[in-house]
């Protein structure tokens, strides 16, 4: 293979996509670069444009603007009128509903791509057997798709995509069709399988846990726009939008820093918080917010303490009051929604709930140590 004009080797095979897709009132504008061997999760709510992006990358939908390149190949270039259809793209797409061919055995499903691309049937089958072995599911070879469990079908769909020698691997909500228990098993396995693929991988999901476990990097998509991009830990710790904060289970507030020395942030919806939380990703605080800078403030529900009486003047610098708006029992803790200035989600233990005898409408005091409150500049 030849090197590109800008010196990047063709074998690098990175995905570079900078595309706009307009589709019946909805428009998607997104940039996604994925290195070979890297896994990017596109995380977003329903209707954010995740599937549209996926279909555009797969060549099932032409882009309205921009370019898609993989390695030295241009798949889409709206300016030059280049459009390589799905059939010529060599993209491995694992559909959410798997879409295994019901009339073919598992082996022939996996051998399908090599065979229709001109390979002899025995060769295609031998290769399919190899891929199935690599994924540890060769014992399913002779079965029909109807005889597979959800987890098995998922693996076969991945095997079929990998067996097509793709330059780009796309997974659409890979675990969404599985029951909770199987999802748990497959999630960690899937990461291992994906590691066997050397090209760029893009996983579309609405499940933050899936994104955190599977991906090297997360791109958060909302309303057709990328609102945040970063390594999973950074996205989890410093959510850029309420949607991400809710996904990762953090209280998130918008405000302006009014006193840099005390870390005081006046919140847009009323109230103030003192933030002295240290973010390990800052590397010693290279982001030094100026006064009045637009800030986001994140507080974990477990970092807030809840009292039914005014707490003693103590160590916590953030103290405010509110009323209990709702209680929700999670598996190992109780989530309390508190209306106040600001509103907050607070997690307490079931034992604490019994001691406090909380009920809706009850007045409560909330405290949070400044060191547990993280403030960072709002993006954009």
């Amino acid at each position: 293979m030849t090197a590109r004009a800008d010196g990047e080797p063709a074998t690098g095979g990175a995905l570079r996509a900078d595309v706009g897709v307009v589709r019946g009132g909805f428009d998607l504008e997104v940039r996604a670069d994925v290195r070979a061997g890297e896994i990017l999760a596109v995380l977003g709510p329903n209707g954010a444009g995740k599937s549209t992006l996926l279909r555009a990358l797969a060549g099932l939908l032409p882009v309205s603007r921009g370019r898609v390149t993989v390695g030295d190949q241009t798949w889409d270039d709206a300016d030059r009128g280049t459009f390589v259809p799905a059939v010529d793209r060599r993209v491995g797409l694992v559909f959410q509903d798997y879409r295994l061919f019901p009339h073919l055995t598992v082996l022939d499903n996996v051998a399908f791509s090599r065979h229709v691309r001109g390979g002899r049937r025995p060769d295609a089958r031998a290769h399919a057997r190899e891929v199935l072995e690599r994924l540890g599911i060769e014992e399913l070879s002779a079965r029909g798709p109807g005889q597979l469990s959800g987890g098995q079908a998922q693996r076969v769909a991945l095997a079929r995509a990998l067996a097509s020698d793709p330059r780009l691997l796309l997974l659409d909500e890979p675990l969404a069709a599985l029951d909770a228990r199987t999802r748990l098993e497959i999630r960690t396995e899937l990461r291992g399988y994906l590691a066997t693929f050397g090209g760029p991988t893009l996983v579309v999901t609405h499940d933050p846990l899936e994104a955190m476990v599977l991906a090297d990097r997360i791109l958060v998509l909302e309303g057709g726009r990328a609102v945040q991009e970063g390594v999973p830990a950074a996205v989890a710790r410093r959510p850029a939008t309420e949607y991400v904060a809710r996904l990762v289970g953090l209280n998130l507030y918008r405000g302006a820093m009014t006193d840099r020395s005390t870390g005081r942030v006046d919140l847009d919806d009323g109230g103030r918080l003192f933030a002295a939380g240290h973010d390990p990703d800052d590397g010693g605080g290279h982001v030094v917010p100026l006064p009045a800078t637009r800030m986001l403030v994140a507080v974990a529900p477990t970092a807030i303490s809840l009292y039914t009486h005014s707490p003693d003047a103590g160590s916590a610098r953030n103290v405010w009051t509110g009323t209990v708006a709702g209680l929700e029992l999670l598996t190992d803790r109780v989530r309390v929604a508190v209306d106040g200035t600001p509103d907050a989600i607070v997690d307490i233990t079931p034992a604490a709930l019994a001691d406090l005898e909380l009920r809706t409408g009850q007045q409560v005091w909330l405290t949070a140590k400044a060191t547990e409150v993280t403030a960072y500049p709002a993006p954009g």
């Binding site: 797969a58 060549g59 099932l60 259809p85 799905a86 059939v87 010529d88 793209r89 060599r90 993209v91 491995g92 797409l93 559909f95 509903d97 879409r99 061919f101 019901p102 009339h103 399908f112 791509s113 229709v116 691309r117 079929r160 995509a161 097509s164």
Partner: protein, 286 residues
Amino acid sequence: MTDDGDRQAPPGRSPSSVRAVTDAGRRTPWPLGVPAAVAVAFLLLPLAGMFVLAPWRDLPRILAESQAVEALRLSLVTASVTTVISVVVGVPLAWVLARSRGRAIRLLRALVTLPLVLPPVVGGVALLLAYGRNGIAGRWLYDWTGYQIPFTTAAVVVAQTFVAMPFLVVTVEGALRSADAGLEEAAATLGARPVTTFRRVTLPLVAPSLAAGAVLCWARALGEFGATITFAGNLPGVTQAMPSAVYRAFETDPPAAVALSLVLLTVSVAVLVLLRDRWLRPGAGL
């Protein structure tokens, strides 16, 4: 909610009493049962009449003497040729109708399925006007080749195809329409071009419907009378298929007509057996 509540067992009642209530609910009420019985009698009496009054003893002689064997052979051959032609051009047509959108396609679908509801004899007249010696297409054919279709064995096939092919088209189109287009998309991402996808994915998926459509088409071709007698005539050995033979026999030798009818009835029953899984299963559609 109410529905579910009604069906559930009230607390404290034994399951057996619930079973009894359910069975009572399934008993046919007489305002429906009586007309249904009338309908059954109406449909079955003619068949019974045929069995009762058939000249069973003379059957072998009648069949041997009449042109039954010749007519049956012609019928089987032409109906089979018709089915092959219908599959070859009808399946692609069904694919186009199922996969295309737009007003023009809807109109096209209505037009190509018109023979389903058109009186066959009208079809025969229309065929004469199109492919007859003075027809809009037949004229050119005659001028160029000296060949004319009407009143040949080929005309029998043409008439049967005109009437029977729409049965195959609508059956296959329905199957293609409900076949998962997502699988075709999956095939495309795996590198299969449209023709390959059609051959390796779509066609196998609709194979049961294609078989049913072909049998239906064949059966309809076998029974075709109106268009055939108008467009192809009734020449023994050339254009006289079974239905025409029955018609001719009925004018001259009624017992022979009954004997020939029994042969056709046997074929029909065979078709029904072939399609039993498809039609005799409650709730199954085309």
